[in-house]
């Protein structure tokens, strides 16, 4: 009966490079890796590829980022969080990446480019570009959040923003 050392020595070099000295262990490792990746990317993280300029300079076109699906399992989304919003109810192929500025029950307005929540100015330290947006107060519903991108240098008409339902928020941008 050949020992383990003898059996690994009998393997050709390309076999050792491809599947290691202990093929059974390599198979188990591959199985575990596949299972971990499946669970991780199916239930914990969602990879997203950034398209469009609305979240500049925080997120740039072409970047691949991760969304934490479990971020809001134990608490509700907070102001300032960057969230992934499902574009339609039926799937996750296309998502919007926006920052939460208004919480349920609040009113959101823009005056000379400054964000007003319930009539009071709220500082936004993450902004790099100034703007002159004007928007009358918009009430946010009990199960809604007001989201907007970081690139306020775009004209407001071309910048997708507004109220979204809580159920459409998939998770928070993590990496």
């Amino acid at each position: 009966m050949p020992t383990q050392a003898e059996s690994s020595a009998s393997l050709p070099w390309w076999c050792i490079v491809l599947i290691g000295r202990r093929p059974k262990r390599t198979l188990v490792r591959i199985g575990v890796l596949v299972a971990v990746c499946f669970v991780l990317f199916r239930f914990v993280l969602a990879p997203v590829r950034i398209q469009g300029p609305s979240m500049l300079p925080t997120c740039r076109r072409g970047q691949v980022r991760m969304v934490n699906r479990l971020a809001y399992r134990f608490h509700e989304p907070r102001r300032g969080d960057i969230v992934a919003i499902k574009f339609s109810d039926s799937g996750e192929s296309v998502m919007l990446l926006k920052r939460i500025v208004g919480l349920p029950g609040e009113s959101v307005a823009f005056q000379e480019g400054r964000l007003l929540i319930n009539g009071k100015i709220v500082e936004e330290p993450y902004l790099r570009y100034s703007c002159d947006w004007q928007m009358p107060p918009v009430p946010v519903g009990p199960d809604e959040f007001y989201v907007v991108g970081d690139n306020r240098s775009m004209p407001r008409e071309y910048h997708e923003q507004g109220r979204c339902k809580r159920e459409r928020i998939l998770g928070r941008l993590w990496l």
């Binding site: 398209q51 469009g52 076109r61 919003i85 574009f87 339609s88 109810d89 039926s90 799937g91 996750e92 192929s93 296309v94 919007l96 926006k98 989201v147 008409e157 071309y158 997708e160 923003q161 507004g162 109220r163 979204c164 459409r168």
Partner: protein, 165 residues
Amino acid sequence: MKSRLFPVVALAAIAAAGLWGWRACLPSPEKAIRQRLDELARTASFGRNEGALARMLNSDKLAGFFADDAQVKLELGNHVERLSGREKLRDAATSARLALGSLKVDLHDMNIVVGADRQSAEVDVTALCNVPGEPDPQPFELKFLLKQIGGDWMIRRVETVKTLR
């Protein structure tokens, strides 16, 4: 043993082929609608090299997916485009094909709800449109209302849905 096994295998193969044929020839409403909308997306897409005759034929084919009294309401930014009737749709499709140069439409996340009568259906879908000159595809959330007319699923209404209100 071999002679006993052969009829069983042959019967199983015939049954599998029959099932496949049944499903291919008589697809479920969901599958038929999915195929129909995928075909619509392929027909709506066109390349730069589309000639005048092909443009006319493809516009005609595109209009053929819609019912005679079809209604279309598309919100593109602040502009709202309303079209009604197959003829208007054909004209609009020809004009759009002429103006855009090329277009690629992909449909994702199709959610099909067939009515209790099995003759009507509502479909929610995300459309990604690639237009020349734009670095990123433009997404639209669309709601389709379809009705089975003469054995085909015809579109009676299409409208864009605002993801953020």
